[in-house]
Symmetry: C3
Subunit: 213 residues, 3 copies
């Protein structure tokens, strides 16, 4: 099994858990929770495959993904019957999924010979898509935009770090390991310790449509 495949499987598992946690707040029934878990888990990779014209889409040709998603979702549901998960479980699962899919998207774009800047953007879109779909479907403000936490920054930093380390003599799985770790650490440092970049607030009136009234 190749490293990208393992990464992908791990990514769908943690995003499935994050989907269950997000859906669980919405009073959905069992199958509704499963649908959110599945869509969250496959969203990023599906967008990656569509944009790069890779068919069949990864979860069509590799059945183990759906098995992993459903297993991860059911285990989470069973766990939640007996214990509460701390609130931060959702953001940790989301951070892991973001990290794994960002690097996976970067790797696939690089393998298709796209230039570095395209690979970074593909990576960020792949990493962000699953969580955005989850948040849009559960009618939450996407995590990516809450209160100025770092979200895109860890992903961009990690994707760039991966490209940098890949061009060195570092042995094979290490660039991936370091880049994934960098994203998780930056993202969680932003959430739990308030790490920030300067924000660009532009003062405007709240409503933009009263010119003709």
């Amino acid at each position: 099994m190749t490293l990208p495949s393992i990464l992908n499987l791990f990514g769908v598992a943690v995003f499935a858990v994050s989907g269950v946690l997000a859906a669980g707040r919405k009073n959905l029934d069992l199958l509704g929770v499963l649908v959110i878990a599945i869509v969250t888990a496959i969203g990023g990779g599906t967008l990656r495959d569509l944009l790069l014209d890779r068919h069949p889409i990864f979860w069509f040709r590799e059945g183990e993904h759906l098995a992993v998603i459903v297993t991860a979702a059911l285990l989470t549901l069973v766990y939640l019957r007996f214990r509460r998960l701390p609130e931060r479980a959702l953001v940790v699962a989301d951070a892991l999924g973001l990290a794994v899919f960002t690097i996976s998207g970067t790797q696939v774009a690089t393998a298709a010979n796209h230039p570095a800047v395209v690979a970074v953007i593909m990576g960020v879109m792949t990493g962000v898509a699953g969580g955005v779909i989850r948040d849009v479907l559960t009618a939450e403000i996407p995590l990516i935009f809450r209160r100025g936490d770092l979200y895109a920054t860890p992903a961009i930093t990690g994707a760039a770090l991966y490209l940098l380390l890949s061009s060195t003599a570092l042995p094979r799985p290490l660039p991936t390991v370091f880049a994934v770790a960098a994203i998780v650490v930056l993202r969680l440092a932003s959430i739990f310790w308030g790490l920030r970049l300067p924000a660009f607030a532009i003062p405007v009136e709240p409503d933009s449509k009263s010119y003709h009234e």
Copy 2:
């Protein structure tokens, strides 16, 4: 004309009606209403064709779809000039569209030799996409998530029932007919008579971002 084509045409018609009803609440002008009707009607089938790499997309190659959508939308608008539609018209049109596109997505995936579980998921995504796009565009909480009604459950049940019946000796249009009927009945039973599966509510604090403050 094949059964999947007829199903598809019927699906775009009812989703066009549901798009008009949803857009009608938003004070849009005539062409805005038409755009919502069109996007709602073609959303599910477009996602299906993109994911399965079927090009050209169905409404590119079969012009009658757009004719049916515009006709259905205009008839609905004319009707609404003279009579009010009961509130439940929207959920009934949505249930019909969900049923028809779920089975259509399942059929197309099966015809492309994908395994049963992929076919069910493709079916659900095809069935749900049009309505989700409609609700996101009209800035409503997607019907799929309101107050714990069954939405994914009827779709999954119907898609599984279709695959089951297709593997029996039942003559050709009957699996489709029964599966579509099952989805509509389950969905409407959930809305009007309160049919439910157990919900999975997870008690958490409403806001997830105050660790460092």
Copy 3:
């Protein structure tokens, strides 16, 4: 450089500016703002290329787009350090992006020999997608639906005008110029002078789910 390429570059630049202006209200950090600017700028063209099965997607193969986006975004950010942009800057940038991408989508669909009605719809979807993605990601009600301004109407009118003028003896860049101008003028006339089509309001109760309670 061909006219559609120039149009596309101009479209991504103005949508990048509109993305910065929208993101600037949300207290995002520098890289978050860039991500919104990029996704807004490439959204419409990406959807166009996916639906028409044009691979690689335009911003994969033509690197200058990303350079233009990042430059436009950074210049906007620098400008905003020194001066406030008037509130209407966002709607003007959005109107220009809508106009340019609508005609670009119409042209590409026509070049692929799709019928007029498909070309118009492709045009409108291409023009609208970037702004809708921007508004969904920044958790705003999409501009396309605020208070009954004309949004789809200018796009549809411009796309139809383009097809009409293209079939005449008018020399080459003029149909594009007139159609883009028509969209911008109609859209801004709607925003600033209250130009309207009759709305189709359907009176219904606000909540649709209390049948069984």
